[in-house]
Amino acid sequence: MLGKLTIDALPYYSDIAVGGAVIIVLGALGVVALITWLGQWRYLWTEWLTSLDHKKIGIMYVALALIMLVRGFIDAMMMRTQQAVALDSDGYLPPDHFDQVFTSHATIMVFFVAMPFLVGLFNVVVPQQIGARDVAFPFMNSVSLWLTASGAALVMISLVIGRFSTAGWSAYPPYSEAQFSPGVGVDYWVWAILVGGVGSMLTGINVLVTIVKRRAPGMRLMMMPLFTWTALCTSILIVFAFPALTVAAALLGLDRYLGMHFFTDGDGGNVMTYINLFWIWGHPEVYILLLPAFGIYSEIVATFSGKRLFGYESLVYATAVITVLSLSVSLHHFFTMGAGSDVNAFFGRVAPLVAAPTGVMIFDWLFTMYRGRVRFSVPMLFTLGFIVTFVIGGMTGVLLAVAPVDYLMHDTTFLVAHFHNMMVPGALFGYLAGYQYWFPKAFGFRLEEKWGRRAFWAWIVGFYLAFIPLYILGFMGMPGRLERYYVAGWQPYLIVAEFGALFILCGIIFLGVQLAVSIRDRVALAVSTGDPWDGRTLEWATASPPAAYNFAVVPHVHGIDAWWVMKQAGTAGHRPARFHDIIMPDDSSAGVVLGAMSFVFAFAMIWQIWWLAAVGGLGLFAAVLSQTFRDHAGHRIPASEVEAIESRRTMAPALAPGAPM
């Protein structure tokens, strides 16, 4: 009746795991109680969960990312604390629990923090940057969101029911095979990846079609804002790379469920196939995460320097070159697997080439700032912090790309430090900068500056304290993922790293405080003009927050920095002579139902509750079917209403009290 699910699935194996489960359950109940107490279920359902508005979907993506960031960070804090104390001792985490923690930390950070964060920013910003009213496939957008949320929910519920994988975020066989990992942990991983992966795949198609097909009249490819360029290249990478992740996870699942022999020890299995497949996705994924951040930095540097981007075309070409190169270097993730010196030599030569276009970007940003009037607001601070710190990561990357050196450094904390150097100041700082930069776009008021600065300093100091020691420990030969160790010389560095993690904890708390303070002072922080940073690109031409249709009249574009050009020409904010009816998509509950059904299906498959899997599968089919034959799922906003909304917008600046600039 309940498959493998018994009372033993509750996490009695460790007190800390019980504590985690209790926190998750109480947190969920608390949220439910709060919404009920506020009487906001209807509002939440009609205005948010079933919304097909790309801005709201984007905001929900970012909210998901921030929630999961907290969870992923708690995992990180637990690991740092364990390593700080586990000299010649067990520390406070049992080995099996520690292994779950490092697996879920990375799985969450890559799939359920970084991916939803960047997709959320795409959603809020890209349609507005290209002068579009919506994405190409609004319903599919909602499906992507809820599939991603469903994947995240699977990882979260593994805290309460059963255990998560102990096989690391890359789930290398043969350890991840049923023979060595017989529990449900790896199954949780497989299904979270499959469900979330389909969500990402659909987003890739959606953004790609939106950018290619929905640009405002006159906007040629070489006029697109840099962030849109990186969104386009990222989507191409998603479409090319994610199938490989799906295949890798699915074949691992077939091995585990049907006893096949793709990656098993013996019977014709070949673990190298998994590793190849995984990194065919995995390396492009690095740039799927980094390119959007590069786009954000480009927008911010230009805006806060008050200058046109230096070398716009070279930035576009650099983005394109990185896109192509990222598909051809995957083997540098496993030089030590014995592919032979010829193969290693080839990939060892190709891998450092990525440094060239990245270097071009760094110089372009520096030259954009050169002789600009640089304003050091919070988004700019994150950008400057990125530029300085990322260069260190780039250089350690070139070092690791030398195959003989990699033989020494592979699987040490040097590697851990390197990829965190790429992912934290490289990707996450970019998303946080974008969050600060576009927050007023989405909500109509800015985030408070003082707490933002504090958050930045806590993050960057924390980063250096947490990861420079790991570089040093890597040179000293400390392997990654150690649950305990016997070298006394390592401990001081690990304690310093623990302090770094505490600084980052402060950074996260300050971000929370900043949000709370900003909501409290939202009237004083309101952006009446809709253009708080004196922006350059089209997203600042709409109201903040934008009307459902973004643009009452779709603008004509004549060059890059379209909004800046309009402001210079004095045509910005002109009231159009005539308004037209606008057709926008209706809300749909099918997306959230589809996400919920995918969760039910995956959960049932993990615990092998076959009747429930059938229910979930049928529910999925029904949700898809309900949308298949809908052709006119849109409502008309009459011209008079558009006019009324736009009039309110032009009146607003006069009414706003002491509009701050």
Partner: protein, 202 residues
């Protein structure tokens, strides 16, 4: 990038036309990603083609007449889908339904032969759990079979829609995408036939 890409978004098209155009473009991109899935499964099969773990190999398992007949059914179904497309373009509802039905039957025949082949192999001790080679074979051919099954369900659904609602531009565009899907599966099968079956038999 072609001209169409650069000048996209011009104001003359109506909303509905643009939506259909975007759907077609999006569907091509989806097919591309699906092609990558098949390419990776094919590559995996090639890597594992000698990993028989002392079990049976392709030479003893594959029978040319059976595979050839199966292939002919699928190729014929692509042709009949072509006739259906011609009828759809001409707005001939009954004729398009008839050709869709023939396509469905041919596809069903292909699927039935595939299932009987799988069943025969599994009974003879050559199931997917026997060796890495057989895992790769069953997964590759099975993934294609699942796609064909989805295509069959889709044919039924759209057939019902044509019967009930007639051939409006939306239905025609859906049928067009179904056609792309169906022909795509044909191309994939030709890849499977040439890489999996022929070397095993010859």
């Amino acid at each position: 990038m072609t001209d169409a890409v650069v000048t996209a978004g011009a104001g003359e098209e109506t909303e509905a036309e643009r939506a259909l155009d975007e759907r077609a473009y999006g569907f091509w991109i989806y097919l591309m990603s699906d092609a990558i899935i098949f390419a990776l499964l094919l590559a995996t099969f090639v890597v594992m083609s000698h990993s028989t773990a002392d079990g049976p190999g392709g030479q003893t398992l594959f029978r040319l007449p059976h595979t050839f007949a199966k292939t002919m059914l699928l190729l014929a179904s692509s042709t009949t889908f072509g006739f259906a497309s011609v009828a759809i373009a001409a707005g001939q509802r009954r004729r398009s339904l008839a050709w869709l039905s023939v396509t469905f039957l041919l596809g069903l025949g292909f699927l039935a032969m595939g299932i009987s082949e799988f069943y025969g192999m599994a009974v003879a001790g050559a199931g997917p759990w026997r060796s890495g080679f057989l895992s790769a074979f069953f997964t590759l051919v099975g993934t294609h079979g699942i796609h064909v099954s989805v295509g069959l369900v889709w044919i039924v659904l759209l057939g019902c829609e044509v019967a009930l609602r007639g051939l409006n531009p939306f239905v025609a565009s859906r049928l067009c995408r179904l056609g792309l899907f169906w022909h795509f599966l044909d191309i994939v099968w030709i890849g499977i036939f040439s890489v999996v079956y022929l070397p095993g038999i010859l």
